[in-house]
Symmetry: C2
Subunit: 500 residues, 2 copies
Amino acid sequence: MTFSRDTISSKHIDALATTPQAASSFLSPATQQSVELPDTSARVSYRQISSYIEARIERGDWQAHERLPSVRQLSRDSGMHRLTVFKAYQHLKTQGTIYARSKSGYYVAPPAVHTLTNENELEPALFEGTMNELHRLPARYQFSQALIDPNLLPNHYFTEYTKKVFDLYPKLLGTYAHVQGDLELRELLARYFSQHSRFYLEPEELLITSGAQQAIFLIAEAWIRPGDYVLVESPTYATALDVFRQKGARFLEVSTDADGYNMEQIEQLMRQYRPRLFYVNPTFHNPTGLCIPAEQRKQLVDLAAQHQCLLIEDDTCSDMYFGAAPPPPLFAYDTEGYTVYIRSFSKYISPGLRIACIAARQPWMQMLISCKSLTDGGTPLLNQKVFLHYFMSDRLHRHLDTLRIALRIRMETMQTELQQSNWHYIEPQGGLNLWVELPPELSVSRLLSHALTEGISFVPGSLFDYGKRPSQHIRLSFSFANETLIQQGMRELIRIADEL
Amino acid sequence: MTFSRDTISSKHIDALATTPQAASSFLSPATQQSVELPDTSARVSYRQISSYIEARIERGDWQAHERLPSVRQLSRDSGMHRLTVFKAYQHLKTQGTIYARSKSGYYVAPPAVHTLTNENELEPALFEGTMNELHRLPARYQFSQALIDPNLLPNHYFTEYTKKVFDLYPKLLGTYAHVQGDLELRELLARYFSQHSRFYLEPEELLITSGAQQAIFLIAEAWIRPGDYVLVESPTYATALDVFRQKGARFLEVSTDADGYNMEQIEQLMRQYRPRLFYVNPTFHNPTGLCIPAEQRKQLVDLAAQHQCLLIEDDTCSDMYFGAAPPPPLFAYDTEGYTVYIRSFSKYISPGLRIACIAARQPWMQMLISCKSLTDGGTPLLNQKVFLHYFMSDRLHRHLDTLRIALRIRMETMQTELQQSNWHYIEPQGGLNLWVELPPELSVSRLLSHALTEGISFVPGSLFDYGKRPSQHIRLSFSFANETLIQQGMRELIRIADEL
């Protein structure tokens, strides 16, 4: 029995069910032997249907991107309950064998990128996924995730603090948190900002969030309506773009270079389009590592107030500097209350806790609290108390000093290797990444696909662009891999580029 | 110097600033003595302006709901920086002395409900706030929050488990969680549901959320677009109504009584309006305590599939039964995949952890994961691992048995007291509340305001109605106060009602 390579029609399935040959092949396509229909236990039978479908795909009856029979058809033809067939498809979808299209049905999935590596004569398939999909690919030389190596985090000490916290608050796990966040933590952070970031606020002007990601989401939820203009830096943080896009934002881009912003361009865009907000990352910018000078910070907050455009200041790396500490955040220069400040501590203290905060004046704060209240009712108290006790310890400051040195060494290791290439970058003053420009003749997407097959990951610059336009830039994170891996991985990456 | 009682005009302020008398009174209205303008330290001066405004309000110059001078005016007139004036207003707003209206300015706040209690000849002001505002009022007899008394939770044992978890996963705090939730936890929950709730799913069909509140939010975010029809039970959980309302839902209500749903009404509404979803709470319904019989559960999942209406099944109390265990959830009857199941464990295990989950078939699950990814990137790993190790312990099952008995005793204590009244209720088979109908001549809002002044809180039935229509019902939670407090508080409440 043969099957055509194009879309499976209901005729095929009918034939499959009504001829004895087809009926027997239904559950054992490889051997063509008759097998009994499975018993009524759904847990067994859906696996049998799955195996049948897998075998058909393996044999080439159903090819990549070909549509599979509908649940209803396969149920009728096999005599199985529809739920059983449905579960089989779910199972295959989960393991990546097939995929679903909304309202259209199930299709055979193409083989994944990394399974192509055996056939070393072939050009690997180009990577076309999102940032998250890229991060999920296995990589021995991990230069794509701007995360701090867990080995550089104070895990042991942190664990000790956590245990103490339970002795301090024996009913911690039985208590709901205030929606705005634990008052003790907000008071501590207000004091911290006045001492370290040169701005003053009341605990009521702080909202504790579950990571910077939630902070960005709450801001988009509060203020972006479909069709609103949003100013973004070019390039900028890919995930923020995803959040704003989902809320229906129209993007306007602001170019940045080593001198900072083009202020005239910003003024003109604000005047012409009256954007709802400007998402900025002025301190050790992701991905470029740039730091906006103090003078431009003052100008920007004035412009924003004048044009009533909220500045959303994302600050996740200001403690990760290699030379002098950066200027104070925009929020510290703002006398008009148009800056909303996101400060994350997750990356370099405790990714497992997910603690960040938003500082904002009224009426903005009240709007954010309403959104937080609907979104999750408040960040868990456990996480806030654990964070609080570590954050106020001397140990944290020693950790930060050590971490800065460790990151600097890793950055320099990467830079040393880059000297063997003709690739360019601007020396960052802080942060976790190098933003590297490749020579025009080198294809970034080919380099990435070849690198992935060798277990090296990096992020192509196009993912930091709101329109995903091609770019000769790549982001190389030096914070996750240790020096040995950075050395080996970078040598290998440059070798691959030379061969291309 | 006198001020008119109506809106303060700019003329007042100009006068205030230009006459020597006004200028001197600016910062010391009570004594009329001249004081020097504060120095440049913003932290000092905003407090001085605050005190000035407070003194004016106390003196009666500015009355409740009167508009205050704008920030710009007060800044010009006082010679203070606008930010300083702004901060003074923020400070007063935070402490409840004044309130703000969007784009209109600041107004004098009326005295709070509980400050009226001194004047015992006066009728207390009617409570007109939201559920959250009600919960924030101090109450000695706490019958408004459907929370479990922290003294009934296994705090000590839980703390011990938490400490062990850190020994098991020493790098727990340095690790990000998977956006869908920890795989070990999802595998455990999948096994748990197959054993306890009679439904089978893959770990890929589960999403871990930060409490049931976030689960409801993600569902609304994924599926409700402005103008969509949403079916809700009448009455239903107030906070879910708030979330759906914020997404622009139009509500259609389904009446419930001791026999369950009116199935014909549901069918007619589904046929006529094609609602996007039906939010249901079939097991020990909040607030009524009703439990939908198995037969109606089957009918409902069939209807939903037929009309392609998602059933959002909120299940937070199914372990809190007093007699027989309830029937399996709707999800267990659903062979078509139209039920999305929310299961929360926060209430009776660990409010401080905020762990819940959503079970859903594809393609729904994939849509929820996308929303979760944008919303917060994943529930913190710490909370998931702590929960997991407690959840799989024998200790949990002993805790549940004890808790059921403790809750039953509290419920019976409340019922005994209710025998002294002519109030009606349907005996609940589980849950945390009594849904009590007051006699038609008794005003629920007057009862509430008088009760609040005596430190007794309950939730008026109108808050469980999508249109906040008046209702003769009230919700009395018996899970937070202990037996002595229930006895005293209920006697007092019935006495107040009798006097009215």
